[in-house]
């Protein structure tokens, strides 16, 4: 079935993509990330898998929305009854007016990955929480890749006034093969609504990942995002938030790179109206030949007086071949503001190492413990115990020596 309004978007995006292709690193926002090797792979578009090898976990402490190779799998999923959660393809049929009014509206600036997504997305999540609605358990969006293909998915998340929800989005694969995840989420957080999103990216070690969240926050809306970038050979996360009056935005992130991984974290927080608050805290640990990128931009528009904004980026380099490129930016057009950013790149604190050594721990172990603790600070911010535990365990596999005590 062809839907004309959507076809217009798709056609336009397709034309756009044909002209620009995937972003070139001559673009300022992509200067540290070169995707030409990925573009050369020319992955085919994914098709619906006949028999997924993935075992769904029914029930438990969360709802599940499962996407296998970018297609919604109802059998493996477990959705809430009282709140509108469905695949975006269902929403095109059943919630056409609402979807049409929001689709593509959160994306203020586009690039090749977004255009490709708009033109080609196969499926995705649609969630609509009505006024005062509360999603009583977290909803986990589970992406599983089985094919060597491009997996474009598109989510539209709408929280009306006073609504509240928590989403967990996980990316993983059943085979250890190369593929490209291309996931775009448009998020609308209504007046005084509250949304928390956890992203755990554990793609296969040869996979490519692009994940973008484009967020519109109404007055007094709260948006919190926790980003754990662990897998894939090249991964890029975009988090772009536009804040209305007294909106609050908190972005936390941890990127752990080893081998030849390249992990790019791009964030942009735009305060459009007065009294907004934003807090951003990203940490990176880079080992072997890994390269980490942090690009954080805070924009305070002329009307956004009394904005309070802080950004912090801390990095540890563990090897001679690792690299970190960081670009924290403040762009401020209002005068009555409190804005600050800080960056550190360095080693573990000598005094802390000495302290542990004085307690009988050898230097190597002391370093492992401190490195683990450096990363664990971000894990501790997870409010859901079961998720915190599983991310903690992922951390343990990266730094097994760190948790000996």
């Amino acid at each position: 079935m062809s839907i004309s309004w959507l076809d217009d978007f798709r056609q336009h995006a397709k034309t756009q993509f044909e002209q620009t292709g995937f972003p070139s690193n001559r673009l300022e926002d992509w200067r540290y990330t070169n995707v030409s090797a990925m573009a050369k792979k020319e992955f085919p578009l994914a098709t619906m898998a006949s028999s997924p090898v993935f075992e769904g976990s029914k029930g438990g402490s969360a709802f599940h929305f499962v996407l296998v190779d970018g297609f919604f799998n109802a059998e493996l999923s477990n959705l809430p009854k009282t709140i509108t959660v469905c695949s975006i393809n269902d929403a095109i049929k059943n919630h056409a007016d609402l979807l049409q009014s929001k689709f593509n509206q959160a994306i203020t600036q586009t690039h090749g990955f977004i255009d490709f997504n708009t033109a080609n997305f196969t499926d995705g999540l649609f969630i609509h929480i009505a006024e005062n609605g509360v999603l009583d358990k977290p909803l986990q969006i589970i992406h599983v890749a089985t094919q060597a293909a491009i997996l474009p998915t598109r989510h539209v998340v709408i929280l009306e006034k006073n609504a509240k929800a928590t989403l967990i989005e996980t990316f993983s694969s059943s085979e250890n093969n190369a593929y490209l995840t291309n996931s775009v989420a448009e998020i609308f957080v209504g007046e005084n609504a509250d949304l928390t999103v956890y992203k755990v990216q554990q793609e296969s070690e040869t996979a490519y990942h692009f994940g973008g969240n484009y967020v519109q926050q109404a007055d007094n809306a709260r948006f919190t995002h926790h980003n754990f970038a662990l897998g894939s050979v090249l991964a890029r996360t975009d988090i772009v938030c536009d804040l209305a009056t007294a909106a609050e935005c908190e972005l936390n992130g941890l990127y752990l790179g080893s081998q030849k991984q390249h992990l790019d974290n791009f964030t942009r927080i735009k305060h459009l109206q007065p009294n907004g608050i934003s807090r951003e805290f990203y940490k990176g640990i880079l080992n072997d030949r890994a390269r980490g990128v942090f690009q954080g931009r805070i924009v305070v528009a002329e009307d956004a007086q009394r904005t309070d904004s802080k950004m912090n980026n801390r990095n540890l380099l563990l090897s001679n071949e690792a690299e970190i490129d960081t670009k924290p930016q403040l762009e401020i057009y209002a005068d009555d503001v409190k804005c600050a950013h800080g960056v550190t790149i360095g080693q573990l604190d000598e005094k802390s190492i000495f302290y542990l050594q004085s307690r009988g721990i050898d230097e190597a172990t002391a370093k492992h413990i401190l490195t683990f603790a450096f990363a664990n600070e971000m894990v501790d911010k997870i409010a859901i115990p079961s998720l915190r535990e599983s991310v903690f365990n992922l951390l343990l596999t990266q730094f097994p020596e760190g948790a000996e005590r």
């Binding site: 380099l317 950013h341 960056v343 360095g346």
Partner: protein, 482 residues
């Protein structure tokens, strides 16, 4: 609150005090730029053959380059064919050898700027190389410097008299094709200063250059080359101003510093080019490439700049820290008011072991101005134990201006220690209240707070300049304080 802002704004209106025009006869080329103009320029300046080749190479490269557009600046297109590339005060047959031969009108102009050359010779102990439009008019104190072996002369003279030094070091730091404006400068530079400090010499006085654009429709393209040989030290000061004119004038300078083993250069700038009027009409486009090459071990360079003038500033004094244990410093105060725009900062490229750099940048934005800090700290993989500390603070005065901070940090060595901090705020109500409650007027309070904000930078300036810088800051922001 808004009452306070109005008060501050009303204090911002002040006249540009250096905006006088000096009536002197000048030799000026017709506007336009092509290879013939460059050949003519080289001929007028009586340059050896290698310089003409150098200029033509730069010009040919420049023609292939696009004008840079990445800065946070709105620049009206510049018609490079509408600029005259050479303007010299009409001289007698020979260049002047002493102050007595200088056109009294020019001397008068400098006096208005507050640098009476004659007086300085006796009192201040600063050797001045004054560049009026495109040529150096007088270099004071030559004799005394000659005794210790310091060469301080116009670069055009150095090209004729010390070609071996010029050949070795010119463009060794900023290559002819480095960037659009540097290439243009290499093709058409008319004059500038040349300094050579021999081995082990501590330059007995501070060297100073004063730049002034006088003729209309001319660009000023000066070139400065300073070489500090092993174990030497020099402190160099640079000041700039221009008359008030309705059209924009281009100033595209290149400064190259070469610092050998154990040597040190301290380079201070007070830039007060005409900033344009309140509607943004006129003013200087200040597009400058400044770079220091710490070539030898234990070398040190320190840039200090106070930027209050120019309609548009595009300037990134940089340090390449090649020698082991070399040190780079950058201290900057950039003030923009009315419709001024500044995109300025530094680059610290760490190549050698145990290299250290410090960046202190203070931006003050008022009126409808846009003030941007843009900086790069790069630690290459060989630079063991590199250390950088960066602090960029921005102060906003009024709700129509902008302050932006765009640092880039690229680290490829795990032993590096990098700290970067940036803040943006306005003058706090609490601080103002505290001062006023203790009997200071609002304007005194603002002046005091702004001066305190800049103090970290001002204390790096040589004494004479520190006084001038504070006065300029007062001029730019407070008007009639006290």
């Amino acid at each position: 609150m808004s009452a306070n802002n109005d008060e501050i704004n009303s204090l911002l209106n002040q006249e540009y005090k250096q905006g006088f025009v000096t009536e002197i006869e000048a030799d000026t080329f017709a506007a336009g730029l092509n290879e013939d103009v460059i050949a003519q320029l080289s001929k007028v300046k009586n340059e050896p053959e290698f310089m003409l080749e150098y200029r033509l190479k730069a010009f040919r490269h420049w023609q292939t380059m696009p004008s840079p557009d990445w800065a946070q600046l709105k620049i009206d297109p510049i018609d490079y064919q509408a600029i005259s590339y050479y303007s010299a005060p009409k001289s007698k047959a020979n260049a002047p050898t002493s102050l007595d031969e200088i056109d009294p009108e020019i001397l008068e102009a400098y006096k208005k700027l507050g640098i009476p050359l004659a007086e300085q010779e006796q009192l201040a102990g600063i050797a001045v190389d004054a560049v009026f439009d495109s040529v150096s008019v007088a270099t004071t104190f030559k004799g005394k410097l000659h005794e210790v072996g310091v060469i301080f002369c116009p670069i055009s003279e150095a090209i004729r008299e010390h070609p071996e030094l010029v050949k070795e070091y010119l463009s060794s730091v900023v290559s002819v094709g480095d960037n659009f404006f540097a290439a243009l400068n290499s093709a058409v530079f008319t004059d500038g200063s040349f300094v050579y400090i021999p081995k082990g010499v501590r330059c007995p006085m501070e060297l100073s250059t004063y730049f002034r654009i006088n003729a209309s429709n001319t660009g000023q393209f000066e070139r400065t080359l300073i070489i500090a040989d092993e174990g030497s030290y020099v402190s160099y000061l640079e000041g700039c101003s221009a008359p008030q004119r309705d059209e924009n004038q281009l100033h595209a300078a290149v400064v190259e510093l070469v610092i050998l083993k154990d040597a040190q250069i301290k380079y201070s700038t007070v830039q007060n080019w005409y900033p344009g009027d309140k509607e943004g009409k006129g003013g200087i486009y200040n597009f400058v490439t400044k770079r220091a090459y710490c070539k030898g071990d234990n070398s040190k360079v320190s840039w200090t700049q106070v930027e209050t003038g120019s309609a548009i500033t595009w300037k990134y004094p940089s340090c390449i820290l090649k020698g082991d244990n070399s040190v780079g410093e950058f201290y900057s105060v950039a003030v923009t008011n009315n419709l001024q725009q500044a995109d300025t900062g530094t680059k610290m490229i760490h190549v050698g072991k145990n290299t250290k750099s410090t960046i202190i940048s203070k931006g003050i934005s008022a009126g409808k101005a846009q003030n941007t800090y843009r900086g790069l700290v790069k630690i290459s993989s060989k630079a063991e134990n590199a250390r950088n500390y960066t602090q960029c603070d921005s102060l906003l005065v009024g709700d129509k201006c902008g302050a932006h901070t765009f640092p880039y940090v690229e680290v490829r060595n795990p032993s590096a220690q990098i700290e970067h901090e940036a803040t943006t705020s306005k003058i706090s109500e609490d601080q103002l209240f505290f001062c006023q409650q203790r009997g200071l007027s609002a304007e005194d309070a603002v002046s005091m707070i702004v001066n305190g904000f800049c103090k970290q930078v001002f204390k790096e300036l040589p004494m004479e300049f520190a006084v001038e810088a504070q006065a300029l800051l007062g001029l730019s922001l407070e008007g009639s304080v006290g």
